[in-house]
Amino acid sequence: MNKEWKPRIVAFFCNWCTYTAADLAGVSRLKYAANIRVIRLMCSGRVDPQFILDALSKGADGVLIGGCHPGDCHYVEGNYKLLRRFQMLKRMLKDLGIEEQRVRLEWISAAEGEKVKRVVNEMVGQVQKLGPLGIPQKFEEWDKEMEHFATQVAEKDAACACACAERDKPALATA
């Protein structure tokens, strides 16, 4: 890992609160880490757990989800629906061995530009400490490992076939 490594964080922000808050952060010229890439969705309720897993598997080191505060959802309760899914996903991520700090859910209202700055900087700092997640590289390693096993198994099979043949030969002879 070289010293210049910078984490890559994919963010899913809801259109009404957090995306607007990020716009406000811009208008207020607040400064935060440039490692974040925001994808706009209409509601945090649209965040499919697959989006998060897909981002991690494609090379994101962390995923941030931003929605309206509970009770403030533009679509009444989309953020609650996300919260349920998020709790399940967190358990799954733990089982997968992905650190908890890599996937974060934050409620950020349209007025909280300052909070966007704080959360992004905090998260970038945390993920920086954790180091790269590197799932695409792991996929490659796993593929290589599997290939290695496959060749080993094939060799063993071949060797076994020979050995069996040899073992069977004298038996035949003695008979």
Binding site: D23, K31, A34, V38, R40, G45, D48, A60, R85, A111
Partner: protein, 670 residues
């Protein structure tokens, strides 16, 4: 990939905007354009100084025709600002407007980052995501929702009154709902208005009675909105009408009942006079109250006990009312449900609670008053009939007015309340006129921006009112000299003279600032609005959409959006009324076609999605055994899409393919 092929050859036009220096200073725009040029599907890539300008938009249109583009991506500001503009340009070029996608590299990139290299890299990643995504875009039709022509105005202060009158005069039917027994709001309490010294009642009461008499206005005072359902063009609003125990249709406002109440003298604190005056259990808020209908306070009326009817009073009021039979002790709370197409929220402000700054002695020393109390004291129809009298009956010889109480103060409210300097000047003038006392103004900065405001300040200087620059440290009755004995002493650092002074006065006026209403958060939730960090309702755009909210069809007027004076409030109320009329006269509103739909062949009929929809847009087709979405009801949140276990619900504009390709795109750039 299937879809991409079905769309034919993809030819994307990419444009990166310099936005003058706003973007170009932090992002190397030509470099981004060069990077994008090589991406698959990109037919053309340009950087341009101002994409939103007419030549910028024409460039897109020309390129679409010349280079046979079928997708357009613009990297510039926030889509919340200019997505509409560029969709229009795409359409004018002959494409479906939804073949466009926007990349936010200003608010989300150049304005928030400090490293040019990193910001440029980020711009490339975001641009790549859009390029990947836009290939999947489909031609879509905009949805039109009809607009119900009636309007609800919430709050009957000057903002609500003006908005309601404007709409009613244009022939629209208006429901005006006010929480207090009478409309008029804070303005009705004022004596004179700055800088012209118009009598507030003289200019307001004709408007109030016009509201009461207008055929197009349904005025519901002493009522509260309790629930708002629906969406732009089609709101269903529930209004609670609190019982006045007086039938509004039968009461003529003769007030015989008040004169004949068993309480011979007024005994209870009068809310309208800020508690300085007294009223009876049956009362009318103020002489010009609209509607001219009395009401009974069940908490103190003898015919009730703590709000519950006991029927144990002699009921002399009923006798006095006689044939009119307007008094109805059995009146119940009434729930009304109305349908409106647009809503104007004009719920106003509250004044800062001066007790929160104990060193100024409000509530401790009886001769410390708030500005609103002094408004009532100098008012001819106030509790003292306009005679400025202290609580002990003395007339003040020296008066100190402390500015910025609960304004421009990190410990309380950080914002400037905008009106206090001017109303303090006005009160200084009125107090001087009424009492000929020495008046001291203690200010941090004099803020008099407005037509004829500075001239008014000059006039006050000539009148001999004293101005001392400095924030008052404390108000105390602790005398250090015989002259200070029995007086209130203001301790202040005179920052112009450069030393600490002690000014003894008889009366202290606290120029309290303007705050969001105590229940602003609950109101905000009900109308699905946002609040700024200080708690005032948030406008859609501080400059270009100051009366719109993030919810279509809901507009803001007056001080609920931020502190402002009467002329600004009236101007804003007119603007809000105009915005509502835009929708009503157009008759429909175009909505984002981002609705969800069910892929019929894949739906397994598990019904998981049905309880998730807050708009009951999803129903179950019992015959086909599949879910079906009513797109007229769908608001496009996409919650059902994300929750479908078999992936058989999709959302237009946010298709899975589109989001996944965006994820791929933002991560593709190293």
């Amino acid at each position: 990939m299937m879809k991409q092929q079905a769309n034919g050859e993809i030819r994307i036009g990419f444009y990166i905007c310099h936005c003058g220096h706003n973007i170009a200073a932090m992002v190397d725009c030509p470099d981004v354009a060069k990077y994008v040029e090589k991406l698959p599907g990109v037919a053309l890539s340009r950087d341009y100084k101002y994409m939103c300008s007419d030549p910028g938009q024409e460039l897109i249109q020309k390129d679409i025709r010349e280079f046979k583009l079928n997708r357009v991506v613009v990297a510039s500001c926030s889509p919340l600002l200019h997505e509409h503009t560029f969709r229009g340009a795409t359409e004018a070029g002959g494409l479906n407007p939804f073949f466009f996608h926007m990349v936010n590299i200003r608010e989300h990139d150049s304005w928030v980052h400090t490293d040019r290299k990193e910001a440029t890299e980020k711009a490339k990643a975001l641009a790549r995501a859009a390029i990947e995504r836009v290939a999947y875009h489909q031609a879509l039709e905009v949805k039109r929702v009809p607009i119900h022509p009636d309007v609800l105005v919430v709050g009957g202060g000057i903002a609500g009154i003006h908005a309601a009158m404007t709409l009613a005069n244009a022939g629209k039917k208006v429901f005006l709902v006010e929480r207090e027994p009478s409309i008029g709001g804070h303005m009705a309490k004022f004596d004179k208005t700055f800088p012209t010294l118009d009598c507030a009642a003289c200019i307001l009461t004709p408007k109030m009675s016009a509201v009461g008499a207008h055929a197009n206005i349904t005025l519901w005072s002493y009522s509260e909105v309790t629930k708002v359902d629906g969406y732009v063009g089609n709101f269903t609003v529930t209004v609670k009408r609190k019982p006045r125990y007086v039938n509004e249709d039968l009461c003529t406002g003769c007030q015989e009942c008040i004169a004949n109440c068993v309480y011979k003298e007024p005994k209870f604190a009068d809310e309208f006079n800020e508690g300085l005056g007294k009223r009876k259990p049956i009362y009318i808020s103020f002489p010009q109250a609209t509607p001219q209908v009395v009401l009974i306070d069940p908490e103190v009326c003898l015919n009730f006990k703590r709000g519950t009817l006991t029927d144990k009073c002699k009921k002399t009021c009923v006798e006095a009312c006689g044939e009119k039979k307007a008094i109805d002790f059995k009146q119940m709370e009434e729930i009304k449900e109305i349908k409106v197409g647009t809503i104007i929220v004009a719920t106003g402000f509250q004044t800062f609670d001066a007790k929160r700054i104990p060193q100024y002695g409000y509530g401790i020393y009886p001769n410390v008053y708030t500005s609103l109390e002094v408004e009532r004291l100098v008012n001819a129809s106030g509790p003292t009939g306009g005679e400025v009298m202290l609580r002990d009956g003395r007339h003040p010889k020296a008066i100190g007015i402390i500015h910025c109480v609960g304004s421009r103060d990190k410990k309380t409210n950080r914002w400037c309340s905008r009106v206090c300097c001017m109303y303090s000047l006005k009160l200084a003038h009125l107090l001087k006129e009424h009492t000929e006392a020495e008046i001291f103004n203690f200010y941090i900065d004099m803020r008099t921006p407005g037509k004829s405001y500075e001239e008014f300040y000059d006039k006050l200087l000539e009148e001999g009112v004293h101005f001392i620059r400095g924030r008052v440290g404390e108000v105390t009755d602790w005398a250090m000299t015989p002259e200070e004995e029995g007086k209130l002493v203001l301790r202040v650092e005179d920052t112009l003279a450069g030393f600490v002074r002690r000014i003894p006065v008889d009366m202290v006026v606290l120029a309290t600032g303007l705050e969001p209403q105590a229940d602003a958060q609950a109101v905000r939730r009900m109308f699905n609005m946002s609040c700024g960090s200080e708690g005032f309702f948030l406008e859609r755009h501080p400059k270009l959409a100051p009366v719109n909210t993030f919810t279509d069809g809901i507009y803001l007027a007056g001080a609920c959006q931020g502190p402002r004076d009467i002329p600004d409030t009236v101007a804003q109320a007119g603007a809000a009324a105009a915005e509502a009329m835009v929708l009503i006269d157009k008759g429909y509103m175009e909505q984002e076609p981002n609705t969800a739909y069910v892929l019929q062949e894949e739906c397994s009929g598990c019904k998981s999605c049905i309880p998730l929809c807050p708009y009951t847009a999803i129903t179950f087709d019992e015959v086909k055994e599949k879910a079906s979405i009513n797109e007229a009801l769908c608001k496009g949140c996409g919650t059902c899409v994300a929750s479908c276990p078999s992936g058989s619900i999709a959302q237009r504009l946010f298709e899975d393919d589109e989001v996944f390709s965006e994820i791929k795109g933002v991560l593709a750039y190293e």
